[in-house]
């Protein structure tokens, strides 16, 4: 469904992506793992067109994502950002219903609010939070609101950028379970980037490891557990020694 062919991206003299080639199948859950600063977020932003690749091609259903109706293209996606990226100036239901109130299929205020509250309920939040502002919520609640916003229009493809970063293990588990449930019930294609191995095992059907700007390894979760690839082995066991240089 999503195909990346030799995607390169540099920021000044820093080469972040050095030829990423990857197939993301429809209705599956792919988790991209890799150390901090290896270009995982840049990869997602390249697919969404938030960052323009220097070279290479990104295809969605065989069509180049850089051409065509951008709004229609983005309507197929939902994204949960690392820090939630909730709009400070809008209350919770307005955040969740942001896209519902815009575009050709825009709902009126009352319907959008009802739908936003329904989505909030789906992520375990009651209607009492609807009129609060993001600053009034805890980090875990903000992630849930971000998740509700990402699924508000039932997109075909959902990206999760470090969904459990900064959360306690229990809340991280709750978010992982929610992601798994929602992706399964919506039949959506999910791409998650994380370096949390608990998340990987909870969410992933397929795992891809990014290192040095390229995909070093790609396979299923069970293959990941059995692989002898030294990069994957070092990463999933969190070893300080191995082919991945660790600064001390």
């Amino acid at each position: 469904m999503i195909t990346l062919n030799s995607v390169h991206k540099s920021f000044k003299d820093k080469h972040v992506l050095r030829g990423i080639t990857l197939e993301i199948p429809r209705s599956g859950s792919l988790v991209v793992i890799g150390g901090s600063g290896t270009g995982k977020s840049v990869l997602l932003k390249c697919i969404l067109g938030l960052v323009t690749p220097d070279r290479g091609q990104i295809l969605l259903d065989g069509k180049d994502v850089s051409v065509g109706d951008r709004e229609a293209f983005l309507d197929r996606f939902g994204m949960l950002f690392q820090g939630g990226a909730l709009f400070d100036s809008l209350n919770i239901w307005e955040n969740v219903g942001f896209r519902l109130r815009r575009g050709p299929k825009a709902l009126n205020k009352s319907d959008a609010r009802d739908k936003a509250i329904e989505k909030l309920r789906r992520v375990g939040l009651g209607p009492e939070v609807a009129n609060l502002y993001p600053a009034e919520l805890s980090g875990g609640m903000q992630k849930r609101v971000g998740l509700a916003r990402a699924i508000a229009t039932a997109p075909e493809i959902i990206f999760f950028d470090e969904p459990t970063t900064g959360l306690d293990p229990i809340m991280a588990g709750v978010i992982n379970d929610l992601i798994r449930e929602i992706v399964t019930e919506m039949g959506a294609t999910a791409v998650t980037i994380t370096h949390d191995m608990t998340s990987v095992r909870a969410i992933a059907d397929q795992v891809a490891m990014i290192h040095d700007g390229t995909i070093k390894w790609h396979g299923t979760v069970s293959q990941m557990n059995e692989t002898t690839d030294p990069y994957v082995d070092q990463f999933i066991h969190g070893r300080a020694t191995g082919p991945i240089a660790a600064l001390r």
Partner: protein
């Protein structure tokens, strides 16, 4: 000798580099401004964001503009009286205060105060949105940041600034009137008559046009630096500083150009 040549070349190179950076920055701001103008005339439009900006920029700037104007008008009256006394021209105080306020001090000082208050606030707000990925989130929600964030603010500042200038002019003239009548012994009716008689509609109109241009500059620089903010608190701080400094310098430069266009032809 060779080392001196190399040092001179490096010095000139550094100056050239700075000059090119400066010109590139002007070019980027100009492109940003043209893009904002283009988005102003093509939908979708966001009236709620526009009216919120109108209140934030226009209404909440009234106190600072009013206070600046009243003290400036009063000080101007004292200065002109003292200066005019050297050649027995104290009677010109009402007309000079009025002309000085509506042509120059009202728009320029109002513009600078709004630059300090509004450009900084816009740059800090949008810079924080950039750093916390809210601007990326907007795009993933099929909303153009230029239309949703920049256009309402630029439009609100451009439309509200002439009103602020008009209010500032009136308060400044009132400041001069109060000092003139209570401190300098002018007759109240004569002061008002001289003020009205000497003021022409173009004096007021030119100041209002300047106000609109300064409003555009303030919001444009705030939005540009905010939306192009660097990472972290330092990036947002730098964006805020650049917005205020840039807007202030551009206000003063464009004031000179507008004065040339309005009053020397």
């Amino acid at each position: 000798m060779t080392q001196i040549n190399i040092a001179i070349q490096q010095f000139l190179g550094a100056i050239g580099h700075l000059a090119f950076d400066f010109l590139a920055q002007i070019g980027r701001i100009a492109l940003f401004g043209m893009s904002a103008l283009r988005h102003m005339v093509t939908g979708p439009f966001y009236p709620r964001e526009f009216f919120t900006s109108l209140v934030q920029i226009g209404w909440f700037s009234l106190p600072v503009v009013g206070l600046t104007a009243v003290f400036t008008g009063g000080a101007l009256a004292l200065q002109i009286y003292a200066g005019g006394a050297r050649f027995s021209a104290e009677a010109v105080v009402p007309s000079i205060v009025a002309i000085g306020m509506v042509r120059e001090l009202g728009p320029v000082l109002g513009g600078l105060m709004v630059a300090a208050r509004v450009a900084s606030s816009i740059a800090a707000e949008l810079g924080t949105m950039k750093v916390t990925e809210q601007i990326d989130a907007l795009q993933t929600l099929s909303t153009h940041p230029m239309k949703y964030l920049a256009v309402p603010r630029i439009l609100a500042a451009t439309l509200s600034m002439p009103i602020l200038v008009a209010v500032g002019d009136a308060i400044g003239i009132m400041g001069g009137y109060l000092v003139g009548t209570h401190r300098l012994g002018f007759n109240a009716a004569t002061y008002l008559k001289n003020t009205v008689d000497f003021l022409e509609s173009w004096d007021v109109g030119s100041g209002l046009i300047k106000g609109a241009v300064f409003g555009f500059i303030v919001a444009l620089l705030g939005c540009y630096h905010g939306m192009n903010s660097g990472r972290g608190a330092q990036g947002v701080g730098r964006a805020t500083k650049s917005a205020v400094v840039g807007a202030s310098v551009l206000i003063l430069a464009s004031n000179y150009l507008l004065t040339e266009v309005f009053f020397t032809s």
